[in-house]
Amino acid sequence: MLNISHISTFYGAIQALDNISLNAEKGEIVTLIGANGAGKTTLLSTLCGNPRAKSGTITFNGQDITALPTNQIVRLGLAHAPEGRRIFPRMTIFENLQMGALVADKKHFAADLEYVFTLFPRLKERIAQKGGTLSGGEQQMLAIGRALMARPQLLLLDEPSLGLAPLIVKKIFHVLKEINQQQGMTILLVEQNAHHALSLAHRGYVLVNGRITLTGTGKELLQSDEVKAAYLEGAA
């Protein structure tokens, strides 16, 4: 479904991604783990065309999207829940979800809304509350819900566990699993929380300083010494 081959991305003279290749098949959960500044966020934004890859190609469902404008990429069915949630703070939960549905067909709106509310009943209770006054966990639920409202084929999530209590993280990861199993949704999950991410994902990649150093199934990576040493100290 998603095929990234040999892309490199620069910020001015600084190289953030170096010859990255990665793919995700339909129905898979693929995770990308790495330390702060490894380039995880950069990879997701490069997928969406901002910044642009300097070399390499990205294809989505066989179509080359490397040079497409961001808004067209999103319209192809690739929803991005960006780092730091980025909820619209002065808009209500309902309005935030409406914004997510802007690129989707109107006739699905009611059903999609219902689906998001069954995943996150908390959002339904607070439907008229302003996004900015939600707790971190609720904001993350809203960010995922908003991305789902776009009816994507591929969901890009950037650190959904950022700054959340372990219990909420567990809940959110459980919902991701549900979306994947019920809808067959393909998910590309960027995480620092390696233990949770690798337990959930079918496959994973490890990113270090803009390069992919290791790849394998979630289980394999959880067992690998490199991952254990670098990301799982005390977590297991």
């Binding site: 999103v74 002065r90 808009m91 309005e95 776009a150």
Partner: protein, 403 residues
């Protein structure tokens, strides 16, 4: 107590320091030369005033006044709006010529500020060249009627259209770029428009401006003493005696109508996907991009719709004044309109309405204070910024009501 006393000192000391040169000396001309005189008592008064004001603030901090929330229940609010509307309808019959004139001016600025509210209040684009589109609208009306003999009602939509097209052309390259380049380029564009209007003597009449603006007609009926169109005049048609005030009253109603249209359109737009995208863009551009919104297009639409409204208002301004000249379109106008939107509360139609009324009326009402007018103006601004930093009405109403 001791600590309080210390917070006193800096402002008092600063006042003393500043007022020594600013108030302490003054120049007086006599027949031969200019004398530099001193008035130390003024320094004393200023310092004492700041001292007093500070003590009041500190006492208030300790014993705050009961806070009053200005949020009457929705039912009363609607009644208030209806009352206001009826009041405006009746106004021309209850007041003098000069009051009608002033009310028309207030409405004109409310329309302008509501137009800028779309660009700046909803979409968050700082447009420091807004007056350019107002000027383009006014000059379009002047030129079309003067050279091509178009009537007022033909000029109005064309003025809006021309202003919107200019905004598209200016905005197209700038709004693709990230960052606040718009403010600077728009500022420059407004100056260019003004300078072109001043120097293109053959077309715009240069600094002298153009006169003989077309007058609005009532379904083709003119308001003059005699009619030039072959139809009877308004007064003859309705068999009422001629009165030159009728024209003014009619213009007042026309601009009231324009204001109501802009109000309704602004409210409707907010509930459409386009308006929602504007507000989302103001809140977070990165999130918008991630949601597949075509940012340049959304920005361009907000910019040109705002400009189109300014163009429409420009046409009404031209006919109200009876002539247009570059003087009416300086940066001061933009600053004034931006102040209305910011003080009123970005995105709040009623807040902006109050701020616009206040900012137009204040200089008129305070005419007696002569030079101190601007001082009062500044004080009012500081008070709003101190106590209502996000504008008079800063609560954003959701576009969808949930039970």
């Amino acid at each position: 107590m001791n600590k309080n006393f210390l917070t006193f000192l800096p402002p008092v000391f600063l006042t003393l320091l500043l007022s020594l040169p600013l108030l302490g000396f003054f120049a007086q001309e006599n027949s031969k030369d200019i004398l530099l005189l001193q008035r130390w008592d003024w320094v004393l008064y200023a310092t004492a005033a700041v001292f007093l004001a500070n003590s009041v603030l500190i006492v208030l901090k300790k014993y705050p006044l009961p806070s009053f929330a200005i949020s009457p229940p929705a039912k009363n609010l609607n009644a208030l709006k209806a009352l206001l509307f009826l009041g405006l309808l009746a106004l021309p019959f209850l007041s003098s010529r000069s009051t009608i004139d002033l009310a028309t001016l207030v409405l004109l600025y409310i329309c302008l500020a509501w137009g800028l509210n779309i660009t700046m209040g909803l979409a968050g684009l700082l447009d420091l060249g807004y007056v350019a589109f107002y000027a383009i609208g006014a000059y379009t009306t002047a030129i079309l009627s003067h050279y091509y003999g178009l009537s007022f009602w033909q000029c109005v939509p064309l003025s809006g259209l021309v202003a919107a097209i200019f905004a598209l052309v200016i905005g197209m390259p700038i709004l693709r770029v990230q960052g606040d380049y718009l403010a600077i380029v728009a500022l420059g564009f407004a100056e260019i428009v003004r300078i072109v209007a001043t120097n293109w003597q053959s077309l715009t009449g240069g600094p002298n401006g153009m006169s003989g603006m077309p007058r609005p007609t009532f379904f083709g009926l003119e308001f003059g003493r005699t009619s030039s169109s072959g139809l009877p005049t308004f007064q003859d048609f309705f068999h009422i005696p001629f009165n030159s005030e009728h024209r003014l009253i009619f213009l007042f109603y026309c601009i009231l109508g324009l204001a109501i249209i802009i109000y309704v359109v602004s409210k409707r737009l907010r509930c459409l996907p386009l308006g929602r995208a504007w507000e989302a863009m103001r809140e977070d551009e990165i999130a918008c991009r991630a949601l597949g919104i075509n940012l340049p297009r959304i920005k361009l639409s907000a910019y040109s719709i705002g400009a189109g409204i300014a163009g429409l208002v420009g046409a009404f301004f031209a006919t109200k004044q009876g002539f247009v000249s570059p003087e009416s379109f300086t940066f001061n106008e933009t600053a004034m309109i931006v102040a209305m939107v910011v003080l009123g509360g970005m995105g709040s139609l009623w807040g902006i309405c109050i701020a616009a009324t206040f900012l137009v009326l204040l200089p008129e009402l305070a005419r007696g204070l002569a030079d101190y007018r601007m001082l009062l103006f500044g004080l009012a601004m500081i008070l709003v910024m101190r106590f209502k930093p996000n504008g008079l009405i800063s609560v954003r109403q959701p576009t969808v009501k949930m039970s």
